[in-house]
Amino acid sequence: MSNEAKQEEGKKNASFLDFWNKNISAWQKTMSEFFEQGTKDNFFAAYRDICSDTFGKAFETGTGSPVFDTYRRMMDAANLYSNMLKSFAVFDVDGGAKATENISAFLDNWVNVQKNLFSQLFGGSLPAGFMQGGNLGSVLGSAFESYKNSLKDMASYYPQDLKPLIENYMNVLEKTGEAFQGIVDPSKFGEFHDSWQKAYDDLFGKFLQAPTVGPSRQFVEKLKKDADSFFKYINSSAEFYSTLYKPGIEAIEETAEQATELFKDLTPDSFRKFYDNLLKSLEMKFFELFKSKGFGEAMKENLNASLEFRTRHTEMIETMLKETPLVTHTEMDEVHEEVYKLKKRIKELEKTIKELKADKSK
């Protein structure tokens, strides 16, 4: 990949971070203005606008929106096969000698294409710095700095009781920022997600898990639990899928090493052997991963997070459905259980009758 292409790819991957960076800055500005002016009306108007701006952008479908990026990654996954074929494009098959000279270019290109693909498939939640050996700190730097500064400024406005909480969160943030500096090892993914989870649990999670009061308490609590379980599920999924990145990259590198020898006598069959080597390597690396204790635990955690989210989400939806003439699963399950018991009872009675009749006819 050329430098220009790398820069372009980096920009695309960074768009999601830029998006949130801008929103955090705007949110910070709004909050500062409110605390300076202390005008309630202005605050709510500004708060309404910032929410509309944030979520409106998040769900728009144009190029550059987070939704579009997610869709793009999905399409990249679907392009797995065609991307492999593209790797072969460097060959001029019309001239065998030229093809042999291009072996090195082919392998470089192939490794780059595959690494990029794996990055997009399994590390989609992580910033570009992780994927391309760059410095995450430089990508996240401005976002972190502005966020930390805003927290410092705002901390003075918070009640005294909340200050330890804020300080704790800032410590985690500081450590996370340090961990990002110059990290290129994919095994550090876990640390990134653990830090994220800890930071979430220490601040936003606490607000979402805090008790609620007032007439709509029950519904708001369900709403908060739904949101809380969603955030946990998202982080858990990102962590789980990022475990697949490392063995994938290792298999690609291993196959590329073997290929140099394999392609010395280039024939069409060399590609079959090359592919077989890749498949074997992938199978071996992933089998080792899949049977590891860590993978089993990550899988369990992710599945449980998804089940928790599903449960909370269903609870909230069913609460909303109470106001409609629609029947819910929970209500239907009560009926199903009764029908099941009745059918079982009828079958037992039918059997008894049959046995009694048989006895009578003897």
Binding site: L80, Y81, F91, V93, D94, G96, A99, T267, P268, Y275, L279, L282, E283, F286, F287, F290, K291, G296, E297, M299, K300, L303, N304, L307, E308, R310, T311, H329, M332, D333, H336, E337, V339, Y340, K343, K344, K347
Partner: protein, 368 residues
């Protein structure tokens, strides 16, 4: 002219030309009528209860071996794996040999079936089917042919109802669930089954499939389809590929309560082999299985690895117990060339040896 000669000698160009021709022929294969029907062996539905059905395969011989065989497939995926394609069908092979075959189709559980238990399946449906076949054929007992999880069900049934089971055949059937050679077994230990069942009710077939595909993702989600492209011009290959594809993703949801007990008692606690398993308040002892047993397992089975199934003969109380291992995988048992040449004859010969024909004991293979 000279340039043309060079080009045709270039092995890469030859390969590309071969590929082009294959794709061209392949487009014809895919757009012309293609027979991808499964389960083509003629059959009649003879019993129905709730969502389950029992098929009786139309005999092709005048004289049939007795007792009839009742095929008990797993709740996971469908029973037509035993009759997937006309030239690779265990069912077809058996009826051609004069074996009278019945096969249970467990159906597709819906949300209303989430409360069905293992007791409902074994003490209820399976027992009712066996009674029906016994009554219909005027016999005291039947030959049970259990496949995979259906084999586990058949072992439990044979231990609880020994008087109704003349012979027992287990194919790729798990009995000992505690081993580290299979990924499914390793992953199942981490499964919070209560949370899963309480959340979903029934376990979605797609959820099960995702787990099966993850066992070997590159082979099952990528290499398989590359193989499909490489054989695009082979009509028979494509037809059979489509049949298999249909079967793989034809995955019924799993009735929640039955699945909960199966995972807890088998995968988590390994109760069957420890003689601790209970059904409907009765303990199941493998030694209570006294019927002659044929156990057939696959050496390269990644779903039911050999350690799970190879020791059934030693665990049961049958005096006449035989074990056969074949160099194939879980699915290869049913559709490989080895299945037709080696596995089917072993099963049909064993059935014949343990049955009667015209009221007389059948001759053993090799006997005059």
């Amino acid at each position: 002219m000279a340039e043309k000669a060079t080009k045709t000698e270039n092995p890469f160009l030859k390969e590309i030309e071969r590929l082009r021709k294959r794709m061209e022929r392949g487009s014809t294969v895919l757009t012309e009528p293609l027979d991808t029907e499964t389960g083509q062996t003629p059959k009649v539905t003879v019993y129905e209860e709730d969502k389950i059905k029992v098929y009786h395969y139309t005999p092709v011989r005048e004289k049939l071996y007795s007792p009839p065989v009742v095929g008990v497939y797993a709740l996971i995926n469908k029973q037509y794996m035993m009759d997937l394609q006309p030239d690779r069908s265990i069912v077809k092979h058996l009826i051609e040999q004069g074996v009278d075959v019945y096969l249970i189709d467990w159906g597709y559980p819906s949300r209303g079936d989430r409360y069905l238990t293992m007791e409902d399946y074994i003490d209820g449906y399976l027992n009712n089917v066996v009674d029906f076949v016994r009554e219909k054929n005027g016999v005291d007992s039947v030959t049970l042919l259990g496949v995979c999880q259906g084999g586990t069900f058949s072992m439990i049934y044979s231990a609880l109802y020994p008087e109704k089971v003349k012979n027992l055949i287990t194919m790729v059937s798990p009995m000992d669930f505690h081993n580290e050679s299979g990924l499914l077994h390793i992953w199942a230990h981490n499964l919070d089954i209560d949370k899963l069942v309480d959340t979903y009710g029934n376990i979605p077939g797609d959820f099960m499939n995702a787990g099966f595909l993850l066992l070997n993702p590159f082979r099952l989600m990528f290499d398989k389809y590359l193989n499909f492209l490489e054989n695009l011009d082979d009509k028979d290959f494509i037809a059979n590929f489509i049949r298999m594809e249909k079967w793989i993703f034809d995955s019924p949801d799993q009735a929640g309560e039955a699945f909960r007990k199966f995972i807890k008692d088998m995968y988590h606690d390994n109760k069957l082999v420890k003689n601790e398993f209970e059904l409907g308040g009765r303990k199941v002892f493998l030694k209570d299985i006294t019927a002659p047993l044929l156990n057939v397992y696959a050496r390269y089975d990644h779903l039911v690895p050999p350690p799970c199934s190879k020791n059934i003969a030693e665990a049961v109380g049958s005096k006449d117990a035989t074990t056969h291992a074949f160099k194939t995988g879980h699915i290869g048992m049913f559709v490989s060339s080895r299945s037709k040449k080696e596995i089917c004859p072993v099963i049909s010969d064993w059935i014949k040896e343990h049955s009667t024909l015209d009221g007389k004991p059948a001759e053993k293979k090799g006997e005059k």
